[in-house]
Symmetry: C2
Subunit: 337 residues, 2 copies
């Protein structure tokens, strides 16, 4: 599989060959199979009736470490040569990707370094440490984060695994959609995933379009972090937005390779505000008893908010993760009233 | 299948033939198969490590109407003769049994009457009504409830389906354990279910002891509603306790036939206080992303609180329901700190 330059700013926009393709997703599926869960597809008659369409939920909140992120991290870790692997991996993410990379590294028995901002939530850091990663604290700025990453790389030779621009990560994330597309007797009409940095959505788009010429691929994005929506509307990547949303997994800005892939595959982004997302999350909890996080529920929120687009169709939704901040739960549910 | 007098006080204590047996559970399994979900068995490496034993969770929170109660209600409804069915069913329960009976009646297209106390939670009543049942409000006393039930029976000829003393209900509840016992290549060493009125636990005991001579059957009961524990300790049924627990599904007092069945099958009851139950619930949410209610989590709480009893064993746990009161969630989680 071809590999992508690790900094999106250094990427040649015309170098299409550096972007992952469907073969990369198929290879990723085989590579991660011994380590990742093949998650179930869930149905709910009550939600189908509410939405006016057939919903098929790919349960990535049941993935190891509680999110689809394990797929991409696992593909990256197991793509390394033995010599690379011996030097370990490094990333900067205090969220699901940090935990996923730590666990993926543990499946291969290699070192994992995670650069985290000083104000990160203690519970999330504890989860990353519990998987055996070494934490490196830095000031909460992009510059400090990149400097610390560079320092760890210089000291250890560790391989940087970016949360969403890394081609190995994008290919790994695409395996969730691949399983969903292969799971059902009947073809899907649409597939919807949340979009933050765009790793999941771009991998999904590659898998979907390779499987069906007519399938429509939608990203679901919080109104308060609508950079992917704006980027596609303007035809150029918006990288200046300051996100404001309860969807903590979707605050990352769309990556450059991700933007290219969304354009190439005619992906459309739909928006939902945080109240609609909180209501969708509550519905998921009540009707399916599945504890999905707000960053997952946004996908159901856009389907419920755009009924005419999905009426009578067979709609796949990737439930991306279940790492809900239970200490902030009352606040989240209050938004759903 | 033999049927049990519907009022537990009128039951002849020596009339063993009026209690349901294993054949009744097998018949119930066949009777409800077209209507009830065959729920999955869930595993969690993280919880196995924490508990020091192998846990197999029977996911009845994913049952229709969100609890195992649908099994017993469905068996009762589909056991009626056509003439009985035409007159409908009646019960008094504003909780999971009321909703379950309403949905079960709907699967057969018959009338369902539910007697509810005036102070019942509005959201629960809405759920029962949404399944098409007729609500009958009464004062919040046992006398008022029984009077209203008698009045509905007199007016309609509806069949009373008691939440846990009805033999058809006990047999139906036993089908969850039957599926769990049949689901695995290796035999279970123990099986643990919550106990309130004892419908689930007594049905489980019948199924377990018929399947394995050596299996141990445990009830999990809140410290604040320890009437089953006390009844077994004293050798006579305690029917005067005033329950005080967050486990709203376990406030019912142990029924007479249920008491007899627990004694006959050497069932042991273990206790957990509400803090331990809330912590177990939070663990379930965090580690398995399954939204189980406190009345379910008490089973994991007793396993975690009695490690020496279960060390290294293969332990089946029936996750009885997932109908969490999301408006009271902050209070519940505060108990888990």
């Amino acid at each position: 599989m071809t590999s992508l330059p690790l900094s999106s700013s250094s990427l040649d926009r015309d170098a299409g060959t550096t972007l992952p393709d469907f073969d990369a997703i198929l290879a990723a599926a085989a590579r991660i199979a011994p380590h990742a869960h093949h998650t179930p597809v869930l149905r709910s008659r009550a939600l189908d009736a509410l939405a006016g369409c057939e919903l098929l939920f790919k349960a990535e909140h049941l993935q190891r470490a509680g999110a689809f992120k394990f797929r991409g991290a696992c593909n990256a870790v197991w793509s390394l040569t033995p010599a690379q692997a011996a030097r370990g991996v490094v990333t900067h993410s205090s969220g699901n990707h940090g935990a996923a990379l730590a666990l993926a590294a543990r499946t291969r028995g290699i070192a994992c370094h995670v650069v985290v901002p000083e104000q990160a939530v203690a519970a999330k850091l504890a989860a990353i440490q519990a998987y055996g990663a070494v934490l490196h604290r830095c000031a909460p700025t992009l510059a400090a984060r990149e400097a610390m990453c560079a320092q760890v790389q210089a000291q250890t030779g560790a391989e940087l695994v970016h949360p969403y621009t890394d081609a190995r990560v994008i290919a790994g994330q695409g395996t969730a959609a691949l399983e969903l597309l292969n799971a059902n007797g009947h073809a899907l009409d649409c597939i919807v995933t949340p979009v933050g940095g765009g790793g999941l959505l771009s991998g999904t788009a590659i898998a979907a379009k390779a499987t069906s010429a007519s399938i429509r691929v939608f990203g679901a994005e919080p109104t308060g972090a609508a950079d992917a929506y704006e980027s596609l509307a303007r035809g150029e990547r918006v990288d200046t937005l300051v996100p404001d949303t309860v969807c903590d997994g979707l605050r990352g800005l769309l990556g450059e390779p991700n933007f290219q892939l969304l354009r190439r595959h005619q992906v459309e982004v739909l928006l939902a505000d945080d109240s609609a997302t909180a209501r969708a999350m509550r519905l998921m909890w009540e009707r399916t008893k599945q504890l999905v996080e707000p960053s997952s529920a946004v996908a159901l929120a856009v389907v419920l908010g755009n009924r005419e687009r999905f009426a009578g169709q067979r709609v796949g939704i990737v439930l991306s993760g279940g790492n809900v901040d239970l200490d902030a739960i009352a606040t989240l549910l209050a938004k759903a009233r």
